[in-house]
Symmetry: C2
């Protein structure tokens, strides 16, 4: 799957991922009101408004970016109808040729990880009938439980050409509380980086990168620089650009000399662009997703300036 992602990055000349983390406060009134009228003030109304919102964003950006990254929590908080919206968002994004990274950050013991793995990137078999439930192309995973919590995803990666991004160094302010601890001449995140790189060896593709990637926050330049050297075969998913404070100059170190090696996520900065000073008077409410398109183009230019 990493090869397909890199092909799409080359095709769009853009390592930007659109983070589909909708909130009701981002959804324009014309969508929100339609859903509230239809379904009342219910989780179903919000879930439906998220789908309609995402669909517009996808329609206006799919030709510019290689991938989208829905954050499952935004849907999960709404219950079953939220998951329905999550799945339909993924299906729609895939129908437009986008790679989908499910930001699920799951991590559990092997027998449980199998269930997550089969549901998200594999198949579930019900008395001989096979179902793909979430069908993300990649998912994010938490490494705290060690290798046997990661292994159940490997088989589905092999069988169905899927991938994963393991949390190595996250973008949040307290990420260092555990991740920066010294574990004997190196930090915990470096150790996780080494393990991730090792786990990924068998899934290295034609461009020299593995389908086992790493999450490396844009908010930690020095750490990212160290990790890039430590993990030459590992593709980085870089969150934290924009709203979280990560700058193109800082995350440039995540890329290799060919301008590959990383994909940079922006959520709020793109999907809520129609609410930002810079874009908000340019388009009518119905055309809110054109602001997202502008934001993608601006982000692409900003990244290309530095990598």
């Amino acid at each position: 799957m990493i090869d397909k992602l890199i092909d799409k990055i080359k095709e769009t000349e853009n390592p930007t991922v659109v983070g589909l983390d909708p909130r009701l406060s981002y959804v324009p009134d014309f969508i929100k009101n339609e859903c509230l009228e239809k379904y009342g003030k219910t989780p179903k109304a919000v879930a439906e408004s998220f789908y309609m919102f995402n669909k517009e964003i996808i329609d206006k950006t799919f030709d510019l970016v290689p991938a989208v990254k829905p954050q499952v929590a935004m849907y999960e908080m709404l219950g079953p109808e939220g998951f329905d919206s999550y799945i339909r968002t993924i299906e729609y994004a895939k129908s437009k040729g986008l790679i989908v990274i499910g930001d699920v950050k799951r991590g559990d013991i092997a027998s449980t990880a199998e269930a997550y793995s089969d549901g998200h990137i594999g198949r579930i078999n019900i008395e001989g009938n096979e179902f793909e439930i979430y069908h993300e192309d990649f998912i994010t995973l938490n490494p705290y439980l060690g290798w046997d919590s990661i292994e159940p995803y490997m088989e589905n990666c092999r069988n169905y050409d899927k991938g994963m991004f393991v949390l190595v160094k996250t973008s949040n302010p307290n990420s260092g509380q555990l991740q920066d601890l010294d574990v004997g001449g190196k930090t915990l995140y470096q150790k996780v980086g080494e393990l991730t790189s090792e786990w990924g060896k068998e899934l290295v593709g034609k461009y020299g990168y593995s389908s086992v990637g790493a999450v490396v926050g844009a908010t930690h330049r020095e750490q990212a620089e160290k990790l890039r050297k430590l993990m030459p075969d590992t593709f980085f998913l870089v969150p934290g650009y924009g709203a979280q404070g990560g700058k193109a100059e800082d995350l440039a170190v995540c890329f290799d000399k060919d301008g590959l090696g990383a994909i940079v996520n922006s959520s709020r900065g793109i999907i809520a662009a129609h609410q930002k000073e810079q874009y908000k008077n340019k388009y009518s409410e119905k055309d809110f997703a054109l602001a997202a398109r502008d934001a993608v183009n601006d982000m692409k230019a900003d990244l290309r300036r530095c990598i």
Copy 2:
């Protein structure tokens, strides 16, 4: 919420949690066939069979145990209908007076953690309408991202009398790969234990235990012993008993001198008891949950022998 859990443990004189981690292979034919006939070979059929299965198990054990712990992955793998089954299972367990520990192991940056927190243990507000979506009493959390990934759950714990169990030392074979690393005179799991204990200080209840608990695997006796000393105010959720190899003798160290301080989970050992040699010829298929009841009583006796 920890006080309520301890009250229930005292009332039932039993620190056993029934792990509701159903699999289709555990579900007796009479339930499975009814669901397959009604809904075909579909995720909905499996989800419905899980609910019916859980309901029987709950009916036959609710008077013996303080709590149940559904593992969300088993439901999540089925998609939206799985979550519907998860939620109905929680509602049913609560209607029988059980405490519900949602084994979700979520962990994400603050803005995302808020969404998980509001969905699982808080409320979501839709234009002034408030909804409880999953309404677990406790959930499990992954600490890899540090304090700001835990903090968003604290407010809901305070406001709605809820609790959490932070993964400190897990029960799986490779748990030591990161958790046992030396981080300067102590292991990573000890460090996480110290942090968990610190995070929990403001939520200590009338029995001296905090609503911020710790997951400490039954499969690591020495580590559990160290943690018990290190974290005198922290209640332990102990997975790994039975099918994973944890023994009553080993996990006895998780308890305090009053026989409190921990709750021990068994999933397969209880809910699939009707398939075990020991119980399988005792009851008719329709009475499969009486085998679970026997297994609970046997586990209670086994634990009480040692604590």
